[in-house]
Symmetry: C2
Subunit: 237 residues, 2 copies
């Protein structure tokens, strides 16, 4: 956290779901606005809970390479059955599945990213597919210099190929890249590859009923409550 | 060119070198500013002339998958010898090679792209690598929604995988994508994949001594003198 800690950083790579955008609140609101007879909070948590197991089926080789849009749809079909929702037609399911393209940014995200962009190259590094991340950026006004995704590297995080892929794309050393994320496991994997790490507190990522532990881990290069505070710590105007 | 021709277009994919940025003028100016005893016009043309043969070595399998940055460096080393330039050290060669990251936009490009972005998703579709295109966009102020590259698809244009890759990334039909380019061969290949096409006149792409034929081909969906005129034709405010 010294003044010199960031002098050689060139690229900030951002985790997206939970770090930059509020998946829980966005999905809960949209499901409730559709008038479905479900608890939006529980529906959002169930959808997200299917995400890691679905990716593991791809990483184990049980499924071939699959875009997150398609994994989201598999999980959606499963939880619609679990929640006993049979009222949606195919077009409505397709639209609902793309709620992940319409996730709302946290209140500090857009302003923070604009400040960080003035001093660094800012890119996504998400397991979300390129189309999803592009549509989200256009909808939410996220000013990325570049959209990088598991889809580019054909590996999901936390595969080292994703973190090291960022440094290769920009022809910089791993320590010149900093991963910005609200998840310690993601940051741990990036640190193991030589990247710098910034933890962002998102205590309401899982909703107000399930507050997250956001305590600091001293192994991270930076710890901030928001992207605006990160811009402050990195001396961005 | 009827009013309905563009009603269903969702994504504009742009060729970059020559279409959005002026490689010839940018390279000629930079080489001359370095004080090298060469004709900047001839040096720029020689560098660009090595590009297609170098890509063909990759597409034929003679070379493995290679980023354009690395192909540019192979060609640079070759033409430095041809022009009898031996005064550059490794650092100077590395810097000169990245002139492709610093190419200047045509005067209408930035304003035209901003208008087009208001109504369409705008992305690159270039054989340039992602890092090159990202650095160029940041340097020149090109407001892409997404940077797509041969590097994403592991095929160079005119491989169909690149044109169809755009429609797959954005989950739209090929005819909902329009390639915007200053090269008829690129547009021909896109049209063969079902994309719409817009030709942009860049008569000085090869410098004022080698004016290009920019006559209209009626098979293109649109023909414009600039990206601003294209925005007019597409009714973008």
């Amino acid at each position: 956290m010294t003044a010199s800690a960031h002098q050689d950083i060139k690229v900030l790579a951002f985790d997206i779901f939970g770090t930059v955008v509020d998946w829980h609140g966005s999905i809960a609101r949209e499901v409730e606005a559709m008038g479905l007879a479900v608890d939006g909070d529980q529906f959002a948590l169930a959808w997200r809970a299917g995400y890691v197991p679905a990716m593991q089926r791809v990483m184990s080789g049980e499924l071939g390479w699959t875009l997150i849009d398609d994994l989201h749809r598999m999980i959606l079909d499963s939880i619609l059955a679990d929640f006993n929702i049979s009222s949606l037609d195919e077009e409505q399911k397709r639209h609902l599945n793309k709620v992940w393209h319409r996730l709302a940014p946290w209140p500090d995200s857009v302003a923070g990213l604009h400040r960080l962009k003035s001093a660094f190259t800012i890119c996504t590094l998400s397991n979300g597919n390129i189309g999803l991340l592009s549509n989200m950026a256009k909808n939410a006004g996220l000013p990325w210099d570049c959209i990088l995704s598991a889809e580019v590297f054909r590996k999901y995080k936390p595969d080292p190929a994703t973190y090291l892929g960022v440094s290769q794309v920009f022809d910089v050393k791993p320590e010149q890249v900093m991963l910005v994320a609200a998840h310690q496991s993601d940051l741990d994997a990036a640190r193991a590859c030589g990247l710098k790490t910034a933890y962002i507190e998102r205590p309401l990522e899982h909703g107000s009923k399930q507050p997250k532990d956001v305590s600091a881990d001293p192994r991270n290069t930076f710890h901030a409550r928001s992207l605006i505070e990160l811009a402050d710590l990195l001396d961005c105007q």
